[in-house]
């Protein structure tokens, strides 16, 4: 009853590295192994998350953890001797190595869901909100292939527009492509209530941990994965200086302005948001930047910049060339090309 008088918690460590099998992840102070693994897109087996079911049982091979609950509730003497711990109840105190069987369910899989919302953001971009039946861990910035009941057999790739949510809600920004069956359906028809199949996560577009200044460049619906990345970075307390350039045609094509405003407000370091309009009428009251987003980038590039680019291929190509010319290292460039079916066919021809 008075055991708390005898125990002293050790001071919280700074960021530590955990190797989950061979994959390194960073663990924040006070974060459990399970939270850190899920946050970084590892599909760590788990269920109750409070130390009651042992689904997240894994072996601590190296390092030290603080256990939040008596693992004797679930682990046998034998298991304890072999170094088994519960990932949901273990806060690493040093760098650790963990062995766990991740083969029980593949990271990439298909999850069914239901459309619960459709919101027209601009003349040709709709936010599609989907309630998945179970959580699909992914890294902010990744994408999935989506199929909808009304168009069986047709699958299209879209980036998650927010970080993985505990209530398994997912949202995607769908830009209407002329002649595109899927994007036209989402933009023009009511699809709320329809069943969807989400296959993912896919892609290697996500925020690499570093302290270097960030330059994020989005064109049109390419803002989606960057919004996810920024939300996640805010939640993680990232303090890096950041600049977000957002290219659109006219003022009517700027969307998510409130959402970006909240990110600017919550960001722990300096943050600049620069919308750039390419086709704002000369007589419009717009007094922000005009032109192509790539023409405005130069002023924001520093040699140690890490750049994350997302949008149409022409924008990406222009931005990459410019960044390389300004001495940004190729390994610090991360791009996600938003291609349409027609782009893909043209590239294949």
């Amino acid at each position: 009853m008075f055991s708390f008088l005898a125990r002293k918690a050790p001071p919280p460590p700074a960021l530590v590295t955990a190797h989950i099998n061979t994959q390194p992840i960073t663990v924040a102070a006070q974060e459990t192994l399970l939270q850190a693994a899920l946050r970084q897109g590892i599909d760590f087996p788990h269920s109750c998350r409070v130390g009651g079911c042992a689904t997240c049982k894994c072996r601590l091979v190296e390092g030290r953890v603080r256990e939040l609950t008596d693992s004797g509730y679930l682990l046998s003497d034998d298991e304890l001797d072999q170094g088994y711990i519960l990932a949901c109840q273990s806060v690493p105190q040093t760098d650790v190595r963990i062995e766990v069987d991740l083969s029980r369910q593949p990271a990439r899989r298909s999850v069914t869901g239901r459309v619960i919302g459709q919101e027209r953001l601009t003349g040709d971009i709709t936010r599609l909100r989907v309630q998945l039946e179970e959580a699909l861990p992914y890294k902010a910035g990744q994408f999935a292939n989506i199929e909808i009941a009304a168009l069986p057999g047709i699958s299209r790739s879209y980036s998650f527009a927010m970080p993985a949510q505990p209530d398994a809600l997912a949202s995607f920004l769908v830009r209407k492509v002329p002649g595109g069956a899927f994007s036209t359906l989402i933009n023009d028809q009511d699809v709320v209530g329809q069943a969807v199949l989400v296959d993912g996560p896919l892609g290697d577009f996500w925020l690499r941990p570093a302290a270097a200044p960030l330059l994020l460049v989005a064109g049109g619906s390419g803002l989606a994965p960057l919004l996810a990345i920024l939300h996640e970075a805010v939640a993680a307390g990232v303090t890096r200086p950041a600049t977000l350039l957002f290219g659109a045609r006219t003022e009517d094509d700027l969307y998510a302005q409130e959402e970006i405003g909240a990110i600017v407000c919550d960001w722990r370091g300096p943050f600049r948001f620069v919308p750039v309009l390419s086709a704002a009428p000369a007589d419009s009251p717009w007094n922000g930047e005009r032109g192509l987003v790539t023409e405005k980038m130069a002023a924001f590039i520093e040699p140690d910049t890490h750049a994350y680019l997302c949008g149409p291929p022409a924008m990406i190509d222009g931005a990459v060339a410019l960044l390389l010319r300004h001495g940004v290292a190729r390994e610090n460039l991360h791009a996600d090309r938003f291609t349409t079916l027609r782009d893909d066919l043209a590239a294949a021809a």
Binding site: F4, T32, R49, V50, L68, E134, A149, P166, G193
Partner: protein
């Protein structure tokens, strides 16, 4: 960061202090206090709408202190209730309060009728649940923090429910919405059956969980190491303290109030998961709890209302729980729903459509089959009809070709 977000959770302590005053003021003030508390919740939740904000708290220490303060507050409330049925003036408490306030609480106590005393049992039971169990729930989830565990278990001792700190975390969170969970009420069960069944099965479950833990450590289940035994001894100690204060009638009075508090918790369990089904092998999702974001309930109950997120991520502290507006929603705020639950015909009338909507809008295909079996066993005519249509796609999905 708006200070008000810290202040709003002090409404909890405000309710506790109002109840304390109502108990001490005696007479009709006691019944009036009970009525006032009920009105604040029922009317407040109906009028004030939802709070869906999730501000970032830079000083979570203040919030933890708010939870810890529940223990002295509850001790004071329960002491006042025990004092009010004790002969004489134990510890000179009445004289001290009278001197401090200028209001003669000793005379007021003498003038308190049986009916008002009945209101006092309900009010004290309500406070043991609200000022005791609710913060204790939050605190005993913090298994890594010994101070929180210590305070949490003492808060639970007032309702003879220290086993909650074991059963809730290691049992309920693992088995919620399955037949193995004592706290999940199957469809058709009435609340009074649930109070008894969940209390008995919860105690058995806690004992089994604890016995297995000790077995793994090669320790004897019947020993000082057993947290179930130690916990119940804490409650016995409180009964003994009541006896020391005011003799056997005070001890009986305290026991009655404590059992009221325990019953209250079981009603809340009933409301939170009534009729939910889940495949035990799959992780808990927000759809497996009835959620509500009603403002007054959320503020005074440390977001217990945001139950869908709590079960999906049991490790999240209350201030970071998200409102999950897409989750299945309870009838109203906690006290309103509680009153409805106590009237079984009304409960089933209001909940059956919600349960059917859950099957249609939230359940997976697999869960819909489990739900059909649950409906067939429920004894509720409307649910039985649905049970007959087992296997057929629910209306909302019928238009969609299977993928």
């Amino acid at each position: 960061m708006n200070m008000l977000h810290y202040l709003k959770y002090f409404l909890f302590h405000g309710i506790g202090l109002v109840s304390l005053a109502a108990i001490l003021a005696g007479g009709h003030y006691t019944s009036g206090g009970l009525l006032l508390v009920l009105l604040v919740y029922v009317v407040g939740d109906a009028v004030c709408g939802d709070d869906t904000s999730t501000p970032e708290f830079r000083h979570p220490g203040i919030l933890t202190a708010q939870l810890w303060m529940a223990l002295p507050l509850l001790a004071l409330i329960v002491f006042a209730a025990v004092w009010s049925v004790s002969p004489g003036d134990p510890l000179g408490f009445g004289e001290w309060v009278t001197r401090l306030s200028g209001y003669d609480v000793v005379a007021a106590r003498a003038a308190t009728s049986f009916g008002n005393h009945l209101a006092m049992v309900i009010l004290t039971g309500l406070m043991i649940g609200m000022i005791g169990t609710i913060p204790a729930h939050e605190l005993t989830h913090r298994t890594g923090d010994p101070v929180s565990m210590f305070i949490g278990r003492w808060l639970l001792a007032f309702s003879f429910d220290t086993i909650f700190s074991i059963e809730h975390v290691y049992g309920h969170h693992r088995y919620v919405a399955t037949e193995d969970d004592p706290a999940t009420a199957p469809r058709g069960r009435n609340v009074y059956h649930h109070i008894v069944a969940s209390t008995i099965k919860g105690n058995i479950s806690a004992w089994n969980i604890e016995a297995r833990r000790l077995q793994r450590k090669d320790q004897w289940p019947v020993s000082w190491h057993n947290r179930v035994i130690r916990g119940h001894l804490m409650s016995v100690l409180l009964v003994a303290a009541a006896w020391a204060i005011g003799g056997w009638q005070a001890a009986a009075w305290f026991t009655l109030c404590g059992l009221c508090g325990k019953a209250l918790l079981e009603v809340v369990n009933y409301m939170e998961h009534y009729g939910m089904v889940r495949d035990p092998k799959k992780p808990v999702q927000p759809r497996h709890s009835w959620n509500t974001n009603k403002r007054i309930s959320s503020w005074t109950m440390f977001n217990l209302t945001r139950h869908s997120h709590h079960h999906a991520q049991g490790e999240v502290p209350y201030q970071d729980l998200k409102p999950f507006p897409e989750a299945p929603m309870m009838i109203s705020g906690y006290l309103t729903t509680l009153i409805v639950a106590l009237i079984p015909p009304l409960w089933h009338r209001l909940m059956t459509p919600r349960v059917l909507a859950w099957d249609r809008d939230h359940a997976t295909a697999e869960e819909r089959q489990m739900a059909a079996r649950a409906n067939a066993r429920s004894g509720i005519p409307l649910l039985l009809q649905e049970g007959g249509a087992a296997g057929a796609p629910a209306a909302g999905m019928a238009a969609n070709a299977p993928l």
